[in-house]
Symmetry: C2
Subunit: 334 residues, 2 copies
Amino acid sequence: MVTILDVSRKAGVSTATVSRVLNHPDMVDEKTRDLVHVASEQLGYRPNRIARDLARRSSQTIGVVVNNFASPYYGVMLDGVDEALVASGWNVIAETSRETAAGEFRAIQSLMDRQCDAIVVHANSLDDAALAELFRKNPKLVLMNRLLEPFQSRCVYLDNELGGRLAARHLIASGHVDIATIAGPETFHEVRSRLKGFAGALGEAGLALPDSRIVRADFSLAGGRRALADLIERQSGVTAVFAHNDEMAVGAIEAAYQMGLSVPDDLSVIGFDDMTIASLSRPALTTIGQPLRAIGTACGRLAHALSREADTSEIRRVFDAELIERETVSEPRH
Amino acid sequence: MVTILDVSRKAGVSTATVSRVLNHPDMVDEKTRDLVHVASEQLGYRPNRIARDLARRSSQTIGVVVNNFASPYYGVMLDGVDEALVASGWNVIAETSRETAAGEFRAIQSLMDRQCDAIVVHANSLDDAALAELFRKNPKLVLMNRLLEPFQSRCVYLDNELGGRLAARHLIASGHVDIATIAGPETFHEVRSRLKGFAGALGEAGLALPDSRIVRADFSLAGGRRALADLIERQSGVTAVFAHNDEMAVGAIEAAYQMGLSVPDDLSVIGFDDMTIASLSRPALTTIGQPLRAIGTACGRLAHALSREADTSEIRRVFDAELIERETVSEPRH
DNA sequence: AGGACAAATGTAAGCGCTTTCATTTCGATT
DNA sequence: AATCGAAATGAAAGCGCTTACATTTGTCCT
């Protein structure tokens, strides 16, 4: 391995000078600068980043923890973070939590051990208390797509209540009255918010959302299928369903077909997330979109600012959900 | 920051001893071991990984370069690599190339600068010559899902020819004779292999694949749509189409519908990859599956072995494509 | 010519660890 | 009790950089 010492010898200068032409070129005379460039070129010198980071006590990298890499949900946000940082020459390194609280904790620790200058974490297994503890201890943590009240300034998230409200209003505007929802697990804060907004908007329209019209599933296709079957069996008369993600919505549509119901004629369905599946399934799914990439870049920018102790006031924290109309909602038959 | 020195002082031992209890616990007496554990516990000591890596001249991490994070195609492979390494305590750090040759080069360099012990790269912009150059210089490089002849032992890839053959045989077995293909860009080696296998199998059945029945598209949905429209316009009589990925296949199906053709009754379609979209689109797409996760884990294991100069002979390099029958292929009408 | 000041460079300490080598400690053996 | 070898520990060098500080060189005045 060719080191800075080799270059300095070949160029006939001190290592300090070599280091300077790399990091503060304006501090050194043009002639010696050329000398160094030539030498380092000839030797094929590449600075050892580990050594540099140790000496600088900063790594110029942002860590990111996500549940997994396979789901585009995280992938898009990751790409967003990356996009926000690539221009500044900073790097992002990502680690997966494998969807457990222990994993989330471990990943954060590992990223801290690596001396990341800031860390963006998507956590939905760790509870508020544990998360708050971590955020208190480490001021360079950013929470991705989740709100942790006491550390609001370090959270970037979707307005899930708005999302729920939009879904409800669209269904109401289309003339529906008998409305149900396939919600995600109660442990997810997003789920609680979406439900709140949804129920709220129904209430404003004089419509109730009794517990019997809230059915839980696990965000999977199969879960959506089961949920809809349950719902139709128990609650006849339902003409519209709001599912908390697109997969469950598609599952619900499949189940509806199997039960002889046609979508949207007999049953309107609205999803959440606007992942690729929403635009590709047939009929194309009406859904609530969330700007995942933008959320990612905001996290990246926030983390970057935090790590340099720069001003963060200009960075957007709350993003709006948006109704994406496609083909699965229509007026109810009667 | 609490360092190893702090711990050593608190425990009343030397830093060497603290280091030993962390890395070679059996070398130190049980009593002093406890002493150190208690001290490091009380101080909340966390070893600085950067410093450790510098001293060890090894980072115990594998770098991975992929086109982007957003596509599950790469995400699944990444997850595979991660899965292969997590058990051994090694980490993976990933970087994106942003789909350019320059980006691929830059990402590899960056990962090398970070002293990754081995690097797994998915490259489809860099050409064979450039890649060979890199592989010659760096013996710790592994090529993911691509074959580079002179460095076969460091490549893990799908048998794309087999994939093409399977597609052709399935179509032939279903009774088709007028067969066309929507291929990816010629620059992709996968594309060339798939085409080779496809044409070969047709040939064996006495069927030809004239250039007029090969249409190129860019792996996108829209590209698939356009390609099919072209094809039908120019080549009447085609009853079956093999698309080089699922997105183009779905695009083709959409275009077919728009032209009043029904799938599979008027036109059979077979895709490639078996991504989520294949199972979710309606009608569900018949396709050629590739074991992306397994390919990823094989890359991870190979990289790990390479970095330790361990035996790699047991690691699988070539993976078989597999026919996944769903609903878009049937016998031709006549 | 001499001095003051800025610009350019070098010296060396230090970042937080690991590891070699030397030293000490401790049973076991005579 | 003396001796020996193995086990446990410590001292210190070193990993490849950066940077504070000291030194040298060059420029411009008077």
